[in-house]
Amino acid sequence: MTPTRIIIDTDPGVDDALAVLLALASPEIQLEALTTTQGNVTVEKATRNILSVLELAHASYIPVAQGSMFPLVQPLRASDSVHGASGIGNSKLPEPRSKPVPQHAVDYLIERVLAEPNQITIFPIGPLTNIAMAIRKAPGFAKAVKEFVIMGGAIHEGGNATPLAEFNIFVDPHAAHIVFHSGIPITLIPLDATHKCLLEQEHVDRLLKIKSPVSQFISEAVEVYLKSSLERGYAGSALHDPLTLATIIAPELLSLKEYYLDVDISGGVSMGKTFADFYHMTQKPANMKVALDVRAEDFIELFLQRMERLSQSIPD
């Protein structure tokens, strides 16, 4: 089977870094490029972090394009409290030696997608600013993307940025609005599914049995994230972004249903709230598939096996 060709648009971010590692560890996936955006961290930090993670995993051949510095309309936010000041917890990755490509991420995305229509699946796992800009700048872009698999939103589940809104959507709700209404096939992986996939300390300990810079990195990276998750009453830290890749490597684990989804951009207390029209009150056709449930234990096991394999391939 030919691997699925993907580009990840990301703001690493602890779980973003884990998603990139999972992509590299999965033969079903061909990671073609990464584009960065602000979100968990500033875009400069995001770019530096992703280049470092690629070097750690001996994958510096993968191009990285730096994207938008600010959300479209809302002011910039960056959440040092969850992801640590560097964005990937307490990990001490060396300064990367490689550089991003000179193009802006928006133009890079447009160029790659238009060069090979319907070949590339894009995984936006941060705020959707770059994607929205690409949709608006190149009207042919939307039709040429094979699919979007987006980590974002909270349907039944409460938000993690406000009581109602999930972080990625809350950071740039206008961008989410543009993407949701673009007509591109979307699979949405919201908190409803990701909050079930928790990486616990015992999982980290299992990985640490293999001596590798990869397992060491995962342990250091999730330390802060794990602590803040425990303080919030979770048993472990949610693997939000890695779960998006289940759509390729283990789609049977996800319960996907089609709904019409929208996002509140009216600036009140519900700003950034994503909601599904379960009862067809808007009379609008479904605009995406949404994962409202997942076989979480199976996914965690799969994740751990892949990380063990990657760690074994890159020994100390």
């Binding site: 800009m133 206008h174 009216s266």
Partner: protein, 321 residues
């Protein structure tokens, strides 16, 4: 020394007049036009910009096409104000020139970044191109000399909704992005532009210099005047955009106030309403200079003299090159 300007525009009748005013004014050098959806589709706006340049024998000015849609809001086109082609009853020949390969927003970025402190941007349509350029290359905020924006209605009623001016109403999110970017703005709202009325007598005066310029002004503004008569009971038509252009070289035409100005993007009945914090209630620093009064007769006289000059220099028939 002549000022180097870029015009971001959706021509549009009064946009076309602003382009002609720029070409007729030795105080400015027009370095390029970027087009945007608004009064008409961006494709039509681009055709119109090229045709107007050819009409005025200025086909050396580059035109770069920008965004076909507002950022977040659905598209809203103004056929009832500017006619099917955007230029009223005027029928310009198909342009021979072509737009630049580059996207309008990239053209803005490149021009401004390669000439720091030099370029005055005159934005007379919805602000989608400008907002996008700021997000893609935040350093244009420092590198641009000034941005003169035709848009908004401060104390004046709106012309797109009871509260909102058209350019802002079409893409209020883009206006919000530009207003809060820190870019140096002079805002030219309806408060001043609706004082500048081109009357049928003015158009008659221009016809004394028979030329395809004066004929174009007659054909395009006749439609605009019928619209103003029907909807707004104004005898004549407001020429919003040329005033913004004139302020690049004759700022003394208006009186200004430094104000904190914001735009409502919350999606209710005030969507796109621009408002100024006259009494410091928001406790925010001014983010722009707002033109709140204008010496309208002086401006109209300047506009008419320049159009007469241009009409005389261009003549009746198109030169074939």
């Amino acid at each position: 020394m002549s000022k180097r300007i870029l015009i971001d525009t959706d021509p549009g009748i009064d946009d076309a007049l602003a382009i002609l005013l720029a070409l007729a004014s030795p105080e400015v050098t027009m370095e390029g036009i970027t087009t945007i959806h608004g009064n008409c589709s961006v494709d039509q706006a681009t055709i119109n910009a090229l045709s107007i340049l050819e009409l005025a024998e200025a086909k050396e000015v580059p035109v770069a096409m920008g965004f076909p849609l507002p950022l977040v809001q659905p598209s809203l086109l103004a056929a009832e104000t500017h006619g099917d082609t955007g230029l009223g009853y005027a029928k310009l020949p198909e342009p021979r020139g072509r737009p630049e390969v580059r996207h309008g927003s990239d053209f803005l970025i490149e021009k401004i970044m390669s000439n720091p402190g030099e370029i005055t941007l005159v934005a007379i349509g919805p602000l989608t191109n400008v907002a996008f350029a700021i997000r893609k290359e935040p350093r244009i905020v420092e590198a641009v000399r000034e941005v003169i924006v035709m848009g908004g209605a401060i104390r004046y009623p709106g012309n797109a909704s009871p509260l909102a001016e058209y350019n802002v109403f079409v893409d209020p999110h883009a206006a919000h992005m530009v207003y809060h970017s820190g870019i140096p703005i002079t805002l030219v709202p309806l408060d001043v532009t609706y004082q500048c009325i081109l009357t049928p007598d003015d158009v008659k005066r221009l016809q004394k210099n028979p030329s395809r310029i004066s004929r174009f002004i007659d054909d395009s503004t006749r439609f605009y005047m019928e619209f103003h008569d029907e909807y707004q009971q104004i005898h004549g038509c407001a020429i919003n955009d040329p005033l913004a252009l004139a302020l690049t070289f004759a700022p003394e035409l208006c009186d200004y106030q430094e104000l904190y100005v914001d735009v409502d993007i919350s999606g209710g009945i005030s969507m796109g309403k621009t408002f100024a914090d006259f009494h410091g209630l928001a406790k925010k620093r001014p983010n722009m200079k707002v033109a709140l009064s204008v010496r309208a007769r002086d401006f109209m006289e300047l506009f008419l003299e320049r159009m007469e000059l241009l009409a005389r220099s261009v003549g009746v028939f198109a030169k074939h090159s």
